[in-house]
Symmetry: C2
Subunit: 433 residues, 2 copies
């Protein structure tokens, strides 16, 4: 077999598709351990919520589609249990052996707390696969739970809390660290807490959960628990085969998404990437990065020469209609990365008052030594994605605050204010220097 | 008098305010020829529409406010008729003389077709000042016109057409050039035409209007005409005083917004700026640029050292709820500027279908020789501002297409698709090379 891809969701199928595009004759096989491939995992909370009515709505393509339209063989229920790179051979759970010339590891990640005492109970869920969401949906319909605990206030945790609350449950979110959204930023946490509380969801930070009982977790009564903490890359197969693991704990890759083993690539939630602001390795598993790194891995596995420049860590999550968007580093994170952060936070309007503009909070973080922007956040009911993307673009281009202040952003009353909050934040940041 | 500012709208008051901030003791006088100052001129079409109910809603500050809160003297009804720089002296229409040490020219622009035969009739309007909008509003209420002709399909023209149509009029827009929105781009014109026609507004391009009759213009029957073509900078005063005019016909300025006369600055709609993509002088009068250049002129007039880096020509206009956003150059414009353009246009979704994503058209234009992006456009009912701002940021940072393709943009189903149309356009553009 020419190219074998382990994993049939975002990274794996991006790799297979891109490889096919570059080499129409290459043999390509995708091995997926689950029953379906090619689904939008980021849509799972909306399946739980009920906004997405059928799991099928999240499935982009079927194995048949790949076979017929792209000449890519896709096997579901095909879990790889062993990898021997010297022989270029994989062993499946079924005992079948598969040989490869080139290999893309897109083995994904899993919830690290799944081994927690009590995690195996029927009222405990993760939200990682289509089956997870389906199981949760059925539980909601059949058992009609009234009180849920969500463990972890990362993206999936707050999205799950939002979805369950909209299903009428009382929800408490327990977060081990001091802050929400995986960001060391007390102001963001405060804003998240405020929105959650306005909608009747409680957020408790600094609460480690060691075990889950039948009717409570960390002392909070509940009849349902969602585990959404401790995302951990699936690297066991790679480790066994001698693939090098980076200091983040994920698979180390070059900018071509190649591992230390020639012809073996890694992409998606199992792979480490470079953070473009710090130039340090980073593990920030996200759907966008999975698609992009998969594409690059697939291209290079098919003989192309593409590169992945890295990430700046841009994220956005909607909590009860409010967008929380972050990119680069918070002040605290920047300091931990060796920068000398200076920051400014402003509250502006998304557009003029006579166009029903809403409050928009922008923070910019810069490095005092170089003058460069190193991070930012945007919170608001509208325009948060567009505005964080401007900051993300500035980070990608390594702009200084002075350069950022000179950006020529669009203005017209239905869309923005004449001084966008982004530019006001830049002015304030210069004043704060 | 330390600093005199001619013009009391966006540029002039930005200049005065910034000067005050830098020098608390400077004497500052603002001379405004009209009866009010500090109004949001970009909101005028929405006053005509009726969305903005009272002219006062568009007035940000009063002369009293400037006097009391900022120690800035503001005189309305103070038209400057003559300027003698050797004596550092201005003469007002009233005959009064005003001396200055430093001067900021923020004299604005006017509609160049106002001298057209028949332009003085009571059913003919411009939409440039608060009084213009008030007069049009009264005419709509009292005369109940049924058919309007708008001359000019630039921003103000299409906004006026939208506003009048929403007031129940039949509207025809006549544009002298081949294209709408001041952009040499047949695809944009096609899209504008489609949206206008869907809402019952006719757009005719290539129609010069030489005169306006009592009941028709260019053969189109109407009982109301809006002149929204041929924006021209007010430079007469400057010319008289020996201020140099640039090749765009507006006042030539340095990056400090200083004219050729020491201590005389120009800002806003009367001033020329640098286009950052072509590095050539440009005349693109917009509210954002007026505020920014005013701020820089005021700072430097008060002894500061600030610079205006120039524009990339970012604009957005809403037509019946659809955002039309452009930045940099279209292919045709790029070619005229000496670039060898290559472009790609894609249609994507603003967010996933299950989140009611809407059609979003993105075009990127690059220069084949350098690989650099030189322009782009975004058309859509949502997210157009955010997406054009990403392109504008890329132009400001002089990114290549390869660099643009590597941007780490935000994704989450309520906000975007995993492959944003911006990134798909970049991929297509590389394929089109």
């Amino acid at each position: 077999m020419g190219l074998v891809v382990i994993g049939g969701v975002a990274a794996g199928l991006s790799a297979a598709t891109r490889a096919r595009r570059l080499d129409p004759r290459l043999e390509i096989l995708v091995l997926e351990k689950g029953p379906v491939v090619s689904y939008g995992a980021c849509g799972l909370p909306y399946l739980v919520e009920g906004r997405v009515r059928q799991p099928e709505q999240l499935i982009v393509y079927t194995p048949e589609y790949f076979r017929k339209e792209r000449n890519i063989e896709v096997r579901t229920g095909a879990r790889v249990v062993s990898m021997a790179h010297a022989r270029r051979e994989l062993v499946l759970e079924s005992g079948a052996r598969v040989r490869y010339d080139r290999l893309v590891l897109a083995t994904g990640a899993r919830c690290d707390t799944c081994g927690m005492a009590g995690a195996g109970q029927p009222h405990v869920f993760t939200l990682h696969t289509l089956e997870d969401a389906g199981r949760m949906r059925r539980f909601l319909a059949e058992k009609r739970p009234r009180r849920a605990v969500v463990i972890g206030a990362g993206y999936i945790g707050v999205e799950a809390a939002d979805a369950l609350r909209r299903n009428g449950l009382r929800v408490t979110v327990l977060e081990r660290s001091a802050n929400a959204l995986l960001r060391d930023d007390p102001q963001i946490t405060l804003a998240v807490r405020r929105v959650l509380e306005e909608h009747g969801v409680e957020l408790r930070c600094g609460i480690p959960v060691e075990s889950i009982e039948a009717d409570r977790a960390a002392g909070v009564e509940c009849d349902m628990v969602v585990l959404a903490a401790g995302f951990k890359p699936n690297i066991e197969l790679a480790v066994e085969a001698g693939v090098e693991i980076g200091r983040t704990g994920a698979i180390r890759t070059s900018e071509r998404m190649e591992t230390n083993l020639a012809g073996v690539y890694a992409a998606g939630d199992c792979a480490e990437v470079t953070h473009r602001v710090s130039n340090a390795p980073a593990y920030i598993p996200l759907g966008t990065t999975a698609n992009k790194t998969g594409r690059v891995a697939g291209a290079n596995a098919a003989g192309g020469r593409e590169r992945f420049a890295g990430v700046v860590g841009t994220t956005i999550v909607g909590i009860f209609g409010v967008g929380f968007a972050t990119t680069g580093f918070s002040s605290e994170q920047a300091r931990a990365q060796g920068f000398s952060p200076v920051s400014a936070r402003v509250e502006g309007l998304s557009r003029p008052g006579y166009f029903q503009g809403v409050k928009t909070t922008v923070e910019l973080v810069a490095d005092r030594a170089s003058g460069r922007l190193v991070g930012g956040s945007v919170i608001g009911e509208e325009g948060a994605a567009g505005r964080i993307n401007v900051i993300a673009t500035a980070l990608g281009a390594r702009l200084t605050v002075d350069e950022f202040e000179q950006l020529d952003l669009a203005y017209s009353p239905p869309f923005a204010t004449v001084w966008d909050p982004l530019l006001i934040a830049a002015q304030q940041l210069r004043n704060a220097w």
